[in-house]
């Protein structure tokens, strides 16, 4: 009953100044709309760019770096134990990029509950022969099935089929720029030369485009078996194990654990893509600050209208207080006015914000480097909508607070004597 009365008085005051009220509400609507649209777009873009990297980067990568052994013979000589050893020009003892005991290693990893999946890989530097010119590149032997399941390899194939790698023997998928240079298209033969000098003809099964120019210029993919054949290695030969985890955050910890346990090198995604996180963070920060600035500006609009209302309605406030409304009641009336401007302006803003992001989502956006994208990326995370509602209610409350306090402190005697 009491609250209803307060709402009714608030409503009548709003109606008395409905044009200004509408302008204030439109201010809120505009800022919420922009907040939602901006955030949806920015985060959509972030996710797109993140996925560009994250989708094909293993969370943890196990490999063997070619480096000199830390354990040199002099360390074992008892007579030199107490001295400090200076050894110059140490050479790595053998070119062993291979992961030892790879079959057992894979088995252990597959049983680890934290691991979502693994894909073995062979990386080898090769030359692509184009007439007399040799182009440097990288041949990746991949496990096609797992690579598709874990790293969305298929998404980047623009011509041909990735599955053909497993079916057609001695086949290869080339990066788009590389294929361009070699003037090779699907069905053509290209020849690759390994670092050891062996030449091998391979049939082009497809073309891929990753969106990262550096990759498209050098990378090529073939099946594990073909890679082993080209390099002349046995069927357990692999240089990398790519691990995808259930929880990305565990990557640094697990990398450390695996490095110790399997005595290999391990790299986690956080380390390999540190600069990427920073970019995303800054973009999100900008989106939030612009949105919140807009809301604060809208808050000033509400502050103004309420102040105006109070000056205009001094008489009404005075008689309400004379006839038994307390300062608290008057305070509530103005808070209700502020909040309802925020509430209705906010609701419409959420709706328009959603529609605007749907609109952005339908604007065509073609770029050579992102073959799977046809429209601008937009994220529809409900979090944005709840943040926007919270902020609109909060800023309207804060902007109503001071005027409401002022109204509640009006001394009716001063007003009534003034007449």
């Amino acid at each position: 009953m009491r609250l209803r009365l307060i709402f009714r008085i608030a409503q009548s005051l709003l109606m008395a100044r409905w044009k200004q009220t509408l302008v204030a509400a439109i201010g809120v609507t505009f800022s919420i709309t922009m907040f939602i649209a901006l955030l949806s777009f920015m985060v959509g873009l972030n996710e797109l760019l993140d996925n560009l990297i994250l989708n094909r980067t293993p969370h943890v990568r196990l490999y063997n770096e070619i480096k000199a052994s830390a354990h040199q013979p002099i360390n074992s000589a008892s007579e030199f134990q107490r001295g400090y050893h200076f050894i110059r020009s140490i050479k790595p003892n053998s070119n062993r990029q291979q992961l030892y005991n790879s079959i057992a290693l894979q088995k252990v990893l597959q049983e680890d509950p934290r691991v979502k999946g693994i894909a073995a890989r062979i990386t080898a530097p090769v030359f692509f022969n184009d007439g007399v010119v040799d182009l440097t590149g990288v041949l990746n032997g991949i496990d096609i099935k797992n690579e598709n399941a874990l790293f969305h390899f298929n998404d980047y194939i623009v011509k041909g089929k990735s599955e053909d790698l497993a079916i057609v023997s001695n086949s290869i998928i080339l990066g788009a720029s590389l294929a361009d240079k070699l003037q090779a298209s699907v069905g053509d033969m290209v020849s690759v030369t390994t670092a050891r000098g062996t030449r091998f003809p391979l049939k082009v099964a497809g073309i891929f485009q990753s969106g990262l120019q550096e990759m498209d210029k050098t990378m090529s993919y073939t099946s594990l078996a073909t890679a082993q054949k080209v390099l002349g290695k046995s069927s357990d030969y692999m240089t990398d194990l790519q691990i995808r985890l259930h929880h990305l955050e565990l990557a640094p910890e697990l990398a450390r654990e695996y490095a110790l346990r399997f005595n290999t090198d391990a790299e986690d995604i956080q380390t390999s893509n540190a600069q990427f996180e920073t970019g995303s963070f800054i973009r999100t920060l900008i989106a939030y600050s612009v949105g919140i600035t807009l809301l604060i500006v809208a808050g000033f609009g509400i502050y103004n209208i309420l102040n105006m209302m109070i000056y205009e309605k001094m008489d009404s406030i005075a008689i309400l207080k004379a006839t038994g409304f307390s300062g608290q009641d008057v305070n509530r009336i103005f808070i209700v006015i502020a909040l309802s401007i925020g509430f209705f302006g906010g609701i419409v803003g959420l709706l328009l914000g959603f529609l605007l992001s749907v609109g952005i989502d339908h604007i065509p956006f073609h770029t050579a480097s992102l073959p799977t994208i046809t429209t601008y990326p937009v994220s529809y995370n409900p979090i944005f909508y709840s943040i926007a509602s919270c902020f609109s209610i909060m800023t309207t409350y804060l902007s109503g607070w001071a005027p409401a306090r002022k109204a509640s402190r009006i001394d009716p005697v001063v007003i009534i004597r003034g007449k």
Partner: protein, 234 residues
Amino acid sequence: MENRIVLESRHLCKQFRDPVIIDVLKDITLSVRQGDFVSISGKSGCGKSTLLYVLSTMDTDYSGELFIDGQLMRGRTEKQLAQVRNEKIGFVFQFHYLLNEFTVVENVMLPGLKLGTFSEAHVRTRAMDRLTMLGIEKLADKKANQLSGGEKQRVAIARALINDPLLLLCDEPTGNLDKANSLIVFSIFKELAEKHHQTLLVVTHDQEFAANSHRIITMEDGHVISNVKNTHSV
């Protein structure tokens, strides 16, 4: 048998300190009994309005004691005082102070809705009763700003009466009205006093009006100089 005292002040004093100290009210002691019709008159600037604001609990900056319905008003919170005004005091000022956004009947209902004793429908019938008593029931659904000055003042009286106040306080209720309207308002007060035994405390400049009241308090320079029963009134 004498009626109970509804309003009593003991040694009320008030000063304004702005810009120099002026004593506006000096040792005012008076009491109003239930059913009394009291008028206060005096020269302009002698402190009548100031006294009325203190008696109404709206002005709390005074010394001395104020009792309403036997209860001491000192030391109460702003909220409690608002409650007292809502329940026990009706106001009529020189200016009507109606809310333009509301209809006449809604204006009358507001203090009743605030009190919250009766349902909204009941408050509405009570409001209509009072409008009928004052002869303006036809205006009930008009907006407040569509009325004439005299009509507005009558609506203000109806609003003051909505909660059956113990005490009706009026500050020059006819000050803004022409002769004809003043007469109507006079007759309303007379009827209230005589037929409904409404307790009335009215500040007025009008000698004729004062002559109709039961008791006349005269003030001068912040003092009550006379407080006499009016033997001429009925």
